[in-house]
């Protein structure tokens, strides 16, 4: 935290910060319209695919008796993974009092909310009869990892929304009081409503800090659970490739990789689009790069464990699975994902140059795509080798390839996630203004002063 400034200086600085950080809310040009059009159009195409799937049944997908989890579940695991970054950036680092992460925490929360919301939606889209969704709760069995997963996803979504909302309250009040005229009227109404009559008194701040602290502590176990439980969906079976005790931490480590990459990309987009070079500084990218290298290394370590140990033994079924990954049908995907998603990024990001905003963002794009592919080859190859006698089975039961409907619906999930992030950025400042201002040495009284 910087030294406190004189009231005059503070007011001027606060005005500038507020002006910069409301740019995302105010700005609306051709590109905004095009971006919305683009997202909504593709999302609509996906929804059309979903409509066809509901009308004709899951037969329109490539999923059959043996490979009953396809691209949807791979995609689901991907989104759950991405959402975990909220836990790391806005809770773990916060609690450890790592200051550089503060401005990033709202971006992380946006990504987390979008990802975990989509994870939930994808599960519904994977159901043949989504109208029976409630049966999961009414008739669910407590022994089923699927029920645990549904519970933990909803819990995590709730906590993420709260963790997004509570630090937002003072900002909403600030916008309500100091917002310029170019903010649309309806948005101002929303701010007034959501600001809950915030006055900025010490008592209210105390409550905000208290609630945030509880949430940050709460999200630690819940965040860990969300991905650990997702891994148990796999690890609780006897299938080769899934039946390993390392799967929980393996998934969590992989999740940090995917999430950190996603946050870097979103950060870079905000920095360029909303001209926030002074807020998402080179320093932040540098640190994010270091964080990404760190989690990649952890993930690499788990990967080595996950593959080297069984590959040393090559037990019958496990051997078939591993050969399939290393040299068989999935080898291209496997080695591309490992090289471009893990090994090369690690090597590159160890150099300072590649932790600059643009190079880091490009690397992050590769890492993110690779982590999606990674989820695909976690889910599908194992299912193609069930421990069942598979003689006399139609050939297309044994191999899986996604159909265009599945691709459309998966496309929908990406568009919808981006749409959520976009709407959040267009509605609310992408950095917590009051926290940032306080860090720059502006007193709380000045922040909550009414407009003069």
């Amino acid at each position: 935290m910087e030294k406190s400034k004189s009231p005059e200086e503070s007011r001027k600085l606060l005005d500038k910060i507020t002006f910069d950080l409301t740019r995302s809310i105010v700005k609306r040009d051709e590109l905004t319209n095009f971006w919305y059009f683009f997202l909504i159009m593709f999302a609509a195409v996906g929804l059309w695919g979903w409509f066809i799937q509901i009308r004709d049944g899951l037969g329109v997908t490539g999923m059959r008796d043996y490979v009953s989890w396809g691209m949807y579940i791979a995609n689901f695991v991907f989104f759950v993974a991405v959402s975990l970054i909220g836990f790391l950036l806005s809770s773990a680092l916060h609690l450890l009092k790592i200051n550089w992460a503060k401005p990033i925490s709202r971006v992380a929360e946006q990504v987390a909310i979008a990802a975990v919301a989509l994870a939930g939606i994808i599960i519904v889209m994977d159901m043949g009869r989504p109208d029976r969704l409630l049966n999961v709760f009414i008739h669910g069995r407590f022994a089923s990892p699927i029920l645990w997963d549904v519970t933990v996803v909803t819990t995590y979504l709730t906590i993420s929304i709260l963790l997004f909302y509570i630090p937002l309250i003072p900002d909403l009040a600030l916008l309500r009081d100091k917002g310029t005229d170019d903010i649309p009227k309806w948005k101002m109404k929303v701010y007034t409503l959501l600001a809950l009559g915030w006055k900025g008194s010490a008592e209210q701040y105390k409550l905000v800090y208290h609630a945030m602290r509880i949430l940050m502590l709460l999200i630690l176990p819940v965040g860990l659970s969300i991905h650990t439980v997702t891994s148990w969906l796999f690890a609780a079976t006897l299938r080769s490739g899934w039946d390993t005790t390392i799967l929980g931490p393996y998934f969590v480590a992989g999740a940090f990789v995917a999430g950190a990459a996603a946050v870097v990309i979103v950060m870079y987009a905000y920095r360029q689009r909303y001209n926030l070079k002074d807020y998402f500084e080179d320093l932040h990218f540098d640190y994010m790069g270091k964080l990404l290298v760190f989690v990649c290394l952890v993930y690499l370590y788990f990967n080595i464990n996950e593959f080297l140990v069984p590959a040393y033994k090559m037990k019958t079924a496990e051997g078939i699975h591993l050969r399939n990954l290393f040299t068989g049908n999935f080898s291209v995907m496997f080695w591309l994902a490992q090289t471009f998603g893990l090994i090369l990024p690690i090597l590159l990001m160890l150099c300072k140059y590649f932790r600059k905003p643009l190079p880091l963002t490009i690397i992050s794009v590769f890492v993110l795509i690779a982590s999606w592919v990674k989820r695909y080859i976690i889910v599908i190859p194992t299912l193609e080798h069930p421990f069942l006698p598979v003689q006399n089975v139609p050939d297309h039961f044994k191999h899986y390839s996604p159909t265009s409907i599945e691709v459309m619906i998966t496309l929908f999930s990406f568009m919808a996630a981006l749409l959520i992030i976009t709407v959040l950025a267009k509605m609310f400042p992408v950095i917590t203004i009051w926290e940032y201002a306080e860090d720059k040495g502006i007193e709380k009284e000045i922040i909550s002063e009414p407009k003069n």
Binding site: A143, I166, I169, S201, Q204, L207
Partner: protein, 294 residues
């Protein structure tokens, strides 16, 4: 040294195993074992019953050469291969088995194994057969169900030498119930001098959901008839069918959940949501404080 001998022994055994397709060697002292049971009708009959339950599935019916097509094949009991054995050899082979031939040393008592030998011996050309199977006779079987008294009434006739049918007395009639996977034997009766028999169906016989039973009546061996099938006789107890799908669950129900699992789940979820409720309450407090300061 001992190890080496063992190794040689194993090697010899292995080589012996390879050569077994041709000859089945029986130790000299076993070959000459004397059969302690007497070769008489009673022992041969018992041997036949044992054969029918334990051996027929592979070796087939005596004299019909209809054993299972295994390699090496299980020889017919009347065949030369079988009969070339001494009694001691037969006993040894039945006791110890080899390859596709199971060992019966632990499942059939010593006496009974000797009775099996007696049964096989019944087909030895050098022996006077004690169990002579007459050619099957043509017979007629009539049966009906008396539902009120829960009885099966049977009348049997057999073809005489002149082609006329005569009353079949003192013949064994077996009664069974037709089930999804074959017939369940429920009892046997002998026909009286008039060729008639009555069988009282056990009170606890279970039928289908309405208590209906398909009763199958057939004559014992030695007769050629079609069994009489009495469809849907109301003579059994209704079957209590447990409702398999009580609730809309797959595979298993919540009653099967282990307590530790249930407690961990409820504990974790309850804890998390209590904390969430507490945070929501803080939000409410923020609003109330703001209101008070107006």
């Amino acid at each position: 040294m001992i190890k080496k001998i063992n190794l040689i022994f194993v090697a010899i055994l292995f080589i012996a195993q390879q050569g077994m397709g041709q000859e089945w060697l029986v130790p000299e002292d076993q070959k000459t074992l004397k059969n302690p049971t007497e070769y008489n009708l009673s022992n041969v009959k018992k041997g036949k019953d044992l054969y029918l339950t334990n051996c027929k599935s592979c070796h087939g019916d005596a004299g019909k050469n209809n054993g299972l097509p295994l390699v090496p094949p299980p020889p017919d009991v009347t065949s030369d291969i079988m009969q070339a054995n001494t009694e001691g050899e037969l006993f040894y082979k039945i006791t110890n088995g080899r390859g596709g031939m199971p060992q019966f040393g632990s499942t059939i008592s010593e006496d009974d194994r000797w009775r099996l030998v007696n049964y096989i011996r019944n087909y030895n050309p050098a022996n006077e057969p004690v169990l002579v199977e007459a050619p099957p006779q043509k017979a007629k079987l009539l049966a009906s169900v008396n539902e009120t008294e829960k009885k099966v009434e049977v009348f049997a006739e057999v073809e005489g030498n002149d082609g006329k049918f005569l009353v079949l007395a003192n013949a064994s009639v077996s009664i069974s119930a037709k089930k999804a996977f074959g017939n369940l034997p429920i009892g046997e009766v002998l026909t009286n001098a008039e060729g008639r028999a009555e069988y009282a169906i056990p009170k606890d016989l279970i039928g289908d959901e309405q208590g209906l039973v398909n009763v199958v009546v057939s004559l014992g061996e030695g007769f050629v008839t079609d069994p009489v099938i009495l469809d849907a006789a109301k003579v059994g107890q209704p079957k209590q069918v447990p409702k398999l799908i009580k609730k809309e669950v797959l595979w298993s129900t919540n009653e099967n959940v282990q307590t530790w699992l249930l407690l961990s789940y409820l504990g974790a979820v309850g804890g998390a949501w209590l904390a969430i409720a507490y945070v929501v309450f803080q939000i409410f407090k923020i609003w109330r404080v703001g209101k008070q300061q107006e």
